[in-house]
């Protein structure tokens, strides 16, 4: 009986206030889509970082007039360095010049004016922990025969910074939208409580429990939040199908494939966030609105 009463009240409440309900669902959906998108992005950037950093090399460029002993000593030291993973690769003058030609193939004039001897030889090493670059640099920079120690990761970090900023922006938008959604929820609940003030007054008079008085309103808000979450999930699915896997396909080369698993895990997360946040907002609103 009670459940039936509460459910029918929820349905009546949602329908009575249908424009408000739709507005609430839309803002909820937009904010949850933003939230979902920023979470997916967070995940992608993390994955991407791991993938790139594991491939990242540290280059130790040698002096042009390095001696064989210095070079051998360095090779020895790198081979036994606990921070280095695998065997260091040595690029001699010929290898380095070929690499240089390849990298600079758009600038023929530069290639023509550079002799193989001007291109420094280098060791290329992978680090066990790519974040320990500073230690490697401190060890080898300034050693006899070493010209410079360069970390590719420092270049990648600039890319990560841009992605991080985008991620932050999505999160800020999600929060701003979320705030608007919460205010709408609070307002809708107040309107609902006002339109049922007679019933509420009688219920309080005859001693209905606070739970019983408040639950239809709270469930109404939670229902709208959950619908908003479903719409947001649909938005994420559409974004994957029509954007990431289609017109923005090229982007996946950088950020990596967005897995269905990543999208699907958003459904329970968004549902929980949508329902919980609007439910709590509704409940708090009522605490102020329906006095004892």
């Amino acid at each position: 009986m009670r459940a039936k009463y509460v459910l029918s009240e929820v349905m009546v409440g949602l329908w009575r206030n249908v424009t408000m309900t739709v507005a609430m669902i839309i803002t909820m959906a937009v904010s949850l889509t933003m939230l979902g998108a920023s979470l997916v992005m967070y995940h992608q950037v993390d994955e991407m970082k791991a993938r790139f950093l594991s491939n990242v090399q540290v280059s130790i460029f040698l002096d042009v007039n390095v001696t064989d002993e210095q070079q051998n000593a360095l090779a020895q030291e790198l081979a036994t360095d606990p921070l280095v993973s695998g065997t260091p690769v040595f690029l001699n003058t010929a290898d380095s010049y070929k690499l240089f030609q390849e990298q600079m193939k758009n600038d023929q004039a530069l290639i023509d004016s550079t002799t193989p001897e001007q291109v420094p030889q280098s060791f290329r090493v992978r680090l066990k922990d790519p974040t320990k670059f500073e230690q490697i640099k401190a060890t080898y920079q300034g050693k006899p025969g070493v010209d410079n120690v360069i970390d590719q990761a420092s270049l990648l970090n600039r890319v990560f910074d841009v992605l991080g900023a985008l991620q932050g922006l999505a999160l800020v938008l999600a929060i701003a939208q979320g705030l608007a959604a919460l205010l709408l929820v609070a307002n809708t609940i107040q309107v609902a409580a006002y339109s049922k003030r007679r019933e509420v007054a009688v219920m309080k008079l005859v001693g209905a429990s606070n739970w019983f008085i408040q639950s239809p309103f709270v469930l109404e808000a939670m229902f709208a939040g959950a619908i908003g979450a479903l719409v947001a999930y649909a938005g994420l699915v559409a974004a994957k199908v029509f954007l990431i896997d289609d017109s923005l396909k090229a982007l996946t080369a950088i950020i990596g494939e967005v897995q269905w698993g990543t999208i699907n895990i958003m459904l329970p997360l968004l549902l929980a966030a949508g329902a919980l946040v609007s439910g709590v907002t509704g409940w708090v609103t009522l605490r102020f609105y329906i006095k004892k």
């Binding site: 009986m1 009670r2 001693g207």
Partner: protein, 226 residues
Amino acid sequence: MIRLENVTKTYPKAARPSLDGVSVSIDKGDFVFFIGPSGSGKSTIVKLLLHEVTPTKGKVVVNDKDVSTLRSWRIPHFRRSIGCVFQDFRLLPTRTAYENVAFALEVIGKTQAVARRVVPEVLELVGLGGKEHRYPHELSGGEQQRVAVARAFVNRPLILLADEPTGNLDPDTSIEIMRLLDRINRTGTTVVMVTHDSNIVNQMRRRVVEIEGGKIVRDQPRGVYG
């Protein structure tokens, strides 16, 4: 049953207290009128008994419980032992007489089966047999107040509070409502009625507590309006 011990109630921003050191005791099964001019503090007593307001000073004891120390989540349950009738009836306009009374049962968790058994009974008691399916706007003022009394009484409360129940009714209808309250009182229910209807008070010859300026100025066992 009901005891006010040296109760003072001052509303925020009010210059003087609505009730000023009021002490009164009402036994089980009593029928008591609270009379006095507007603003004398009569209605504050009803609000105190319902725990709609808390006393500034003093103790309010209802059913042997100190109301002023009642935790807020216990108030709903506490109110189930008190029935309430008001001048403006406070019926739900979109529900029939039957539904209005049944609503009071539903919202405290009684089943529809209980409502089907109890509601016709109590509507019969208040003299509305056969009018169960009328909406408030299809009933006269007196009939609407009967529905309100039925709603207040359906849960068999120990106390019935009536705040100017005849304020909107003509004298004849008022007397009918008073007969009804008298009948309910005879079932052992304590009736507390706030009024300034002198005819009613004079006819009923029940206990009269007169309040003026927040103080009790008279407490007579079989009093008149004065």
